[in-house]
Symmetry: C2
Subunit: 173 residues, 2 copies
């Protein structure tokens, strides 16, 4: 099994030779294993929603997922999507990106971790970090005030290295 930093996982922007088909397959496989281990039911619908979230590395909005489901014949309504997402988020297979009202596939499910995202404001791509220095800097800041952390939300908006040279132009010049 591939470990963190493997080329299979989209772990940086503009990754050379990123094989997205394999990337998605790996995410799905990890999800299957994790659910099996926990006795959680990765139903057909939930798996399909997870696949849709993973269609690209741009976080997916709930109603875009809904459209995708409907487009392929699923009889879906908003609760269909939100319930599937609730399950996936609860099991750490997907993170909610608060600043986008969107959902991103998690690259390290199973490990306890906060979602730390770098989000490109130009191409919309998001990369998940899992940086202990960030986590512990926040933990120390909270500790100084006697605050007990339950969940950390870190979302950084900016320009990815691919878009940076093209900045100021419209998307896709």
């Amino acid at each position: 099994m591939k470990t963190r930093g493997s080329p299979i996982i989209f772990s940086r922007f503009g990754e050379d030779g990123h094989d997205h088909r394999a990337c998605v397959a790996a995410a799905l496989a990890r999800a299957g294993e994790l659910c099996a281990r926990r006795g959680a039911r990765l139903t057909k619908l939930r798996r399909r929603v997870l696949e849709i979230v993973w269609r690209s590395h741009e976080p997916a909005r709930a109603y875009a997922i809904l459209d995708a489901l409907q487009g392929e014949g699923y009889c879906a309504a908003p609760p269909t999507v939100y319930r599937a997402l609730e399950f996936l988020v609860a099991h750490g297979l997907v993170h909610r990106v608060e600043s986008l009202n969107a959902y991103a596939g998690c690259t390290q499910p199973g490990e306890a971790h906060a979602g730390q995202f770098l989000i490109c404001g130009r191409c919309g791509g998001a990369v998940e970090l899992d940086d202990d220095r960030i986590r512990s800097a926040i933990a120390r800041g909270a500790e100084r005030l006697g605050f007990e952390i339950e969940r950390q939300t870190i979302e950084v908006l900016g320009l990815c290295p691919v878009c940076r040279p093209k900045a100021d132009g419209p998307e896709g010049p």
Copy 2:
């Protein structure tokens, strides 16, 4: 003028002798100065919205602000509130708290800084940090991937030191 860490500013949870009237007055005064310096117009409406945001240290939701305005005779609709908030956020007088869809008064307006929030899931109170170690840990993480930061969103959910001992009980036991 009071500096950071002053008792005037609500900078930690359960602060002894927190004089909220003075806290709000100071925030309003800072806002007035900052706008004057920039030639920005802190109109009656914008000032009133800022006051409402500062009514408590619990981030205010847009429609609660709307209700407050209407309750005092203002002829207000959603755009009224959102436009005022847009102005206040643009000038750094208010931060949007993404994970709550709410708005919190900024304690250090004028200084370039990201909103770093510790949010108590029990009492709803929020405290803003301005921690360079957190900021720079994130900056280093982003730099390693060649990512250029535009805006950092850090929102930490948990239990404040006041609520911590009362945890598991309902709000206000």
